[in-house]
C-alpha cells in the first residue's frame, strides 16, 4: 500500500466487516397473518410458526361484528365533538366499579344510541391502575366494563350489541406512578365498531 490514507481505509473496512459479523442474527419469526374475529367466535385454528419455536404477531384490528353503524346519521353523531357521544371514557374511584353521577349522562347516551340503532355494535374496554396482581386487575377491569354495559342495556341496548373486555393494568393511558396517573388509568372506554 502506498500511503496512510489507504491504510486507514483498509482499517475502516476491516472494522466494518468484523462489526457486520458480530451482529446477532435476530430470532426467526414467521409473521402470523392478521386475524380479526367476529365477536362470539370460539377458538381459532392454530397458525403454524417457524420450527425455531418462535412466532411473530402483527397487530390486528378491533373485533366488531357485522356492518358498523349502518345508519349514516349514526356515524356522524359519534364523531361530532358537540355531541356527548364523541366522549368515550368513564373514570372510576379507587377499588370502585360504580359509574358516578358525573358519567351517567355519557353512558346513558351511548346506551340510547345503541337502542336506536339495532345493528350498531360497541365494545367496552375496562382498565385499572397499575397496583396489584395482573390477573386480578383483568377481573376488576372487566367489572368496570360490565357495569357500563348494564347501564346501557337498561336503556334498551341489546346484549348482543355490546361486548365487554378488560385490559387490566396492561394498557395504561398514563405511564406515571402517582395518583394523577392512576386516576387516568382507572377507566373504561366505549369503542364503536369500525373505529
Amino acid at each position: 500500500m502506498k500511503n496512510r490514507s489507504q491504510q486507514y481505509a483498509i482499517l475502516v473496512l476491516a472494522v466494518l466487516f468484523a462489526a457486520g459479523c458480530s451482529t446477532q442474527p435476530s430470532q426467526p419469526t414467521a409473521p402470523i397473518d392478521d386475524r380479526s374475529t367476529t365477536s362470539g367466535a370460539t377458538t381459532t385454528p392454530g397458525a403454524s410458526t417457524s420450527g425455531a419455536g418462535s412466532g411473530g404477531v402483527s397487530g390486528s384490528s378491533v373485533p366488531g361484528a357485522g356492518s358498523a353503524g349502518s345508519s349514516s346519521v349514526g356515524s356522524n353523531v359519534l364523531r361530532d365533538p358537540n355531541n356527548i357521544l364523541s366522549k368515550r371514557s368513564v373514570f372510576f374511584d379507587f377499588d370502585s366499579f360504580v359509574v358516578s353521577d358525573q358519567y351517567r349522562p355519557l353512558v346513558e347516551a351511548h346506551g340510547r344510541y345503541l337502542a336506536g340503532n339495532r345493528s350498531a355494535r360497541a365494545t367496552v374496554q375496562g382498565n385499572t391502575d397499575e397496583r396489584g396482581s395482573r390477573e386480578y386487575n383483568i377481573a376488576l377491569g372487566q367489572r368496570r366494563a360490565d357495569a357500563i354495559k348494564r347501564m346501557m342495556t337498561l336503556l334498551g341496548a341489546q346484549d348482543a350489541q355490546v361486548e365487554t373486555v378488560s385490559f387490566g393494568k396492561e394498557k395504561p393511558r398514563n405511564p406515571g406512578h402517582d395518583e394523577a396517573a392512576w386516576a387516568q388509568n382507572r377507566r373504561a372506554d366505549i369503542v364503536h365498531a369500525g373505529e
Binding site: 491504510q7 483498509i10 482499517l11 476491516a14 472494522v15 468484523a18 462489526a19 459479523c21 458480530s22 446477532q24 430470532q27 419469526t29 414467521a30 386475524r35 380479526s36 374475529t37 365477536s39 362470539g40 370460539t42 377458538t43 381459532t44 385454528p45 392454530g46 397458525a47 403454524s48 410458526t49 417457524s50 420450527g51 425455531a52 419455536g53 418462535s54 412466532g55 404477531v57 402483527s58 397487530g59 390486528s60 378491533v62 373485533p63 365494545t123 397496583r131 396489584g132 396482581s133 395482573r134 390477573e135 386480578y136 383483568i138 377481573a139 376488576l140 372487566q142 367489572r143 360490565d146 361486548e163 365487554t164 373486555v165 378488560s166 385490559f167 387490566g168 396492561e170 394498557k171 406512578h177
Partner: protein, 426 residues
Amino acid sequence: MRSLLRLFVAVFAVALLASSPARAQLTIEIVGGAGTTIPVSIVPFEGEAALPLSITQIVGADLTRSGLFKLIDPGSMRPSRAEDVRVADWRARSADAVAVGSMRPVGDGRIEVRFALVDAVKSTTLANQIYTIAPTQLRATAHKIADVVYEKLTGDAGVFSTRIAYITKQGPRFALQVADADGFEPQTIVQSNEPLLSPRWSPDGNQIAYVSFEQKKPVVYVQSLLTGQRRAVANFRGSNSAPAWSPDGRRLAVTLSRDGGSQLYLMNADGSDVRRITQSAAIDTEAYFMPDGQSLLFTSDRGGTPQIYRLTLGSGAVERLTFDGSYNVTPRPLPDGRGMVFVRREGGRFQLATMDFASRQVQILTQGPIDESPSIAPNGKLVIYANEQGGRGVLAAVSTDGSVRQRLVSPATDVREPAWGPLPRT
C-alpha cells in the same frame, strides 16, 4: 506491507473479541446468601481446556448462585478421578466435598465426560458418572453435574437444568422468552405489539399457555415449544385469562367472562369441553391446581375483599384460606402440597408471603413495595418473582425460607411475569 497485515490482524482480532455474543441477556446475582454454606471444591476437569466451554465454570456458577455453597479454590491440585483425591489435602483447605472429572473425544465428534464427587469428611464417593455427549450438550451436561452435586450435598433435587419463561417489554414490543434457569440462551417464543401475560408451563415442559391481547382483548393461547405451533384455546366473548394446567397436563382451568363477571372454568387442553366450576356473583380468578390435582386454589372477592380459597373439584366444596388483611391474591401451591406462596398487600406494600396449610401460619417472605407474580421452582426451594427497580420491571428470587436472595438483571428491557419450568424428564 507487513505492518499493514499486522494492523489488519490486530483490528480483526479486536473486532472479533467485541463481537463474541453477549451470551446471557439475564444475569443473576446473589444479593443475600444463606447463613451457613457448604464448602465444595470444583477441580477443573482434565481435558476441559481444549473445549470451547468450561463445564466446571458453569457448575461453579450454578452452585454459587444457589446461595447454599461456598466454592473452595483447588489451588494447583488436579485430581481427575475419585481415587486420585487425597481427602486430607482437601480437608486442609476446609472443603467438605470435591468434584473431579475428565473429558476426552470418542469418535463421531462426541465427548465422554467422567465426573466424580467425593465426600472429604467421610472419605466416600458420593457420585460417579459417565456421560457421552455431543458438543452441543456441554452446557446441559454442566447443569446436570451441578444438579448431582446439589442433590448429594443438600438432599434436595437441583433445578439447574430447568428453564424459566418471562415476558419482556421494550418500548411498544412485548415478547415471551424462555431461557435456561441461569438466564443463558434466551429464545423468543412469541412477540407482539400488544401485551402478553400469564405464561404457564405444561407439566411436561413441552407447551406454554399464555394470555395475549393481540386480538384487542385477552385470549388464552397454548403454544408448543417443540414445533412453534399454537392455538387459541379460550377465545370466548369477553375476556379469557389466567390459564392453569392440571398436573396430568390434560386440562386447563381458565377465567372467562363470557357468562358475566369473571368465573372459573375447566376445559381440555385443546379448548374443548368447557365447564363452569364456580358459581358466584363475585370475581373468581387466578386458579392454580394443587399438586395432587384434586383441588385448586383461587382468588375471589366473594367475601367482600380479594382472598384465597380452595375448591375441591370432586365435591365442589369451597374453603377460605386467608383471613388476615384485605388483599391476599395470586396463590401458588408448594410442590409438596403442604403450603403456598402468595401476594399480600399491607399498608400499600405488595409483598410475598408463605402459608403452611396445617398451621395456617403466614410468614412474610419479601419486603415489597411492589412484589408480584411469584413462581415456585419445582424443588420447592426458590421463588422467582417480579418487582421494580429504577422505574422498570425486574425479576428477583428468594428461597422459601427467606435466607437466599437473588437479583436477575436484564440490560435494557422491562421484565415481568416469570414462570419456572418443570424438572426435565429423564
